[in-house]
């Protein structure tokens, strides 16, 4: 510091250090501004507004006097049978779709990582569901499940109305959920697999570890960060799923596939109970954050 102070070297930048920092901050804000304004107006603002709405009796109609009702929406929610059935369906849906997606994708990723023939075809095909509009996926599976013109009944020799059957509708949409999300999970896991150093496997082979042991002791631990990331994301996406199930069943039959987001949508836009629906959204957010937080915390602890 003293050495540079004695030399009157011409500074490369016109400003002295302390002022440069403030200029940088100003520059940063200026660059952020075009994105910041819409984000605050149409995303952060509505989010806070939505959280506030949860504590009011707001109705989704014009000229409705809104008043603060505290936790009334929550108590109403917790005593509503509809909420608990939707909550249960949402939990079954999100957990089973996420788990099945993961298992199927892991299997597929391991296969695609091997030197098999035709894996190119399988790789291309694996990306197709990802490339399709969710509405089209829903309509396509409606054709597969169609009681008369559907292929599933023809293949199985059955005569079932899959999406209208009380006990089959939920499993039927779970299959569609797995079909839809599996490719993305596969691509991510495949990328993770390819990032594992080959030397680890070579060392394992020298030590005489079996295939299974190599998978258990090398592949899984190495893949762990990727697994944690993709299963958390899948879980969040699945619990927030709306379009696919709206197209397939609209929540029917008799509410057997009414996921929480469909329930909230109906409350807000059919019955127009905006406050009540917002409380439902808030409750779901808290549950999701709690589940996810617990999962991530456990995972973090185990890796240490």
């Amino acid at each position: 510091m003293t050495a540079t102070a004695t030399r009157p070297a011409p500074p490369r930048r016109p400003h002295a250090r302390p002022r440069r920092v403030s200029r940088q901050t100003r520059e940063m804000w200026l660059l952020m501004l075009p994105a910041l304004v819409p984000v605050l107006l149409f995303s952060v603002g509505p989010l806070l507004y939505g959280i506030a709405l949860a504590f009011t009796d707001a109705r989704n109609t014009r000229n409705h006097e809104t008043s603060f009702v505290g936790l009334e929406n929550l108590t109403e929610l917790l005593t509503a049978e509809d909420f608990w059935s939707s909550f249960r369906i949402g939990a079954i849906w999100a957990v089973s779709v996420t788990a099945l997606q993961f298992l199927a994708a892991l299997g597929l990723a391991l296969l695609l990582n091997e030197n098999l023939r035709f894996r190119g075809v399988a790789r291309v095909l694996a990306v197709v569901p990802w490339a399709m509009p969710p509405v089209v996926i829903g309509l396509m599976w409606k054709l597969v499940y169609h009681p008369d013109a559907g292929i599933l009944n023809a293949l199985l020799g059955t005569d079932v109305n899959w999406l209208a059957d009380f006990s089959l509708a939920l499993p039927a949409i779970i299959v569609v959920g797995v079909w839809t999300g599996m490719p993305q999970t596969t691509v991510v896991l495949l990328a993770g697999l390819q990032g594992i150093p080959r030397e680890l496997y070579e060392a394992g082979e020298v030590d005489g570890a079996s295939r299974w042991r190599r998978f258990w002791n090398i592949t899984l631990p190495q893949l762990r960060p990727v697994i944690v990331a993709i299963t958390s994301l899948d879980f969040v996406w699945n619990i927030n799923q709306f379009g696919l199930v709206y197209v397939l069943t609209q929540g029917g039959p008799g509410g057997q596939t009414r996921l929480p987001m469909l329930f909230a949508y109906e409350e807000a836009f059919r019955y127009r109970f905006a406050g009540y629906a917002s409380m439902l959204g808030l409750a779901m957010a808290i549950v999701v954050l709690a589940v996810l937080g617990l999962y991530l915390w456990r995972e973090l602890r185990e890796t240490r």
Binding site: M32, P38, A122, V128, A131, L143, G150, Q184, A277, A285
Partner: protein, 272 residues
């Protein structure tokens, strides 16, 4: 022979992935008479393209596609234009704002859309933007923005800061160095982000369902659902044909971007 179980598993996956697609294609090519057969056939006996032309007659597919195209183009361009400078700031500066920005990107993925969509609907209604395409553009920009920011800041980080420092030494202003040094290197990333935002908007259903209730302004996904009719009774042939046609832009997108997918687009959800 040792690989037999592996090939069997691969075959099972291929069948699971392909059979709904093949059925969609088969249904799209069938005549109404063949559709009514008690025993559905995999391969249409008299393949016809009539369903494709019928689809245009049953719903305003051309108009819907044009509206989807307009909304998707506007949303993707606006998204990239406003997120590019912010992504640059996120990648190049450190500080509280930066941490908040990254935190928000993550939070925005977790919160249920319903918490945003109700107030947003009320705001748009007060602005007289419900049932308008600009209203939907606003919503689509808002919901693609977090991920676009995330993608773009990744691409900016991949450009070595030394290049900019070198330009600064040569006397270039910051703006000058961004335009002539960083921008060309960012071009592929910008294209990928544009495509991502375009497809997200093209496929998006839930916000469109809430914002656009008038059939005259509906986008393609909403129009497709109208094929199922009020009681779920549908003319299946035109429905399948229209569904296939709606998928084409996404397929083109994935054909272009396929190579990038594995590395970059980990969280690239094209959500429903």
């Amino acid at each position: 022979m040792r690989r037999l179980p592996q090939y069997a598993a691969l075959a099972a996956y291929v069948v699971f992935l392909a059979f709904p697609l093949l059925w969609l294609l088969s249904t799209a090519l069938k005549t109404p008479q063949e559709m009514a057969l008690a025993d559905p056939t995999w391969i249409p006996r008299e393949p016809t393209l009539a369903n494709f032309t019928d689809a245009f007659g049953e719903q305003d597919l051309v108009g819907a596609a044009a509206r989807s195209l307009g909304v998707a183009l506007a949303s993707s361009v606006v998204t990239v234009v406003i997120s590019l400078p912010a992504a640059y700031a996120m990648a190049r500066y450190r500080g509280l704002v930066n941490k908040i920005a990254i935190g928000w990107v993550l939070v925005s993925q977790v919160f249920p859309f319903i918490l945003i969509i109700i107030p947003l609907f009320m705001i748009l209604r007060d602005l007289e933007l419900v049932n308008t395409l600009p209203g939907l553009v606003v919503v689509h920009v808002t919901f693609t923005l977090p991920f676009a920011l995330w993608m773009l800041q990744g691409y900016v980080r991949a450009v070595p800061p030394e290049l900019e420092e070198a330009a600064a030494v040569d006397g270039a202003t910051r703006l000058r160095s961004i335009v002539s040094v960083v921008a060309p290197l960012l071009a592929p990333g910008v294209v990928a982000t544009l495509l991502f935002a375009f497809i997200s908007s093209w496929n998006e259903f839930m916000f469109a369902l809430v914002i656009l209730q008038n059939p005259d302004v509906m986008t393609l996904p909403l129009t497709l659902v109208r094929f199922t009719g009020p009681e779920g009774v549908a003319r299946l042939g035109p429905l399948a044909a229209a569904s296939l046609m709606a998928t084409i832009p996404s397929l083109i997108f994935f054909a272009i971007i396929q190579r990038r997918l594995k590395s970059g687009l980990m969280a690239g959800a094209v959500k429903g």
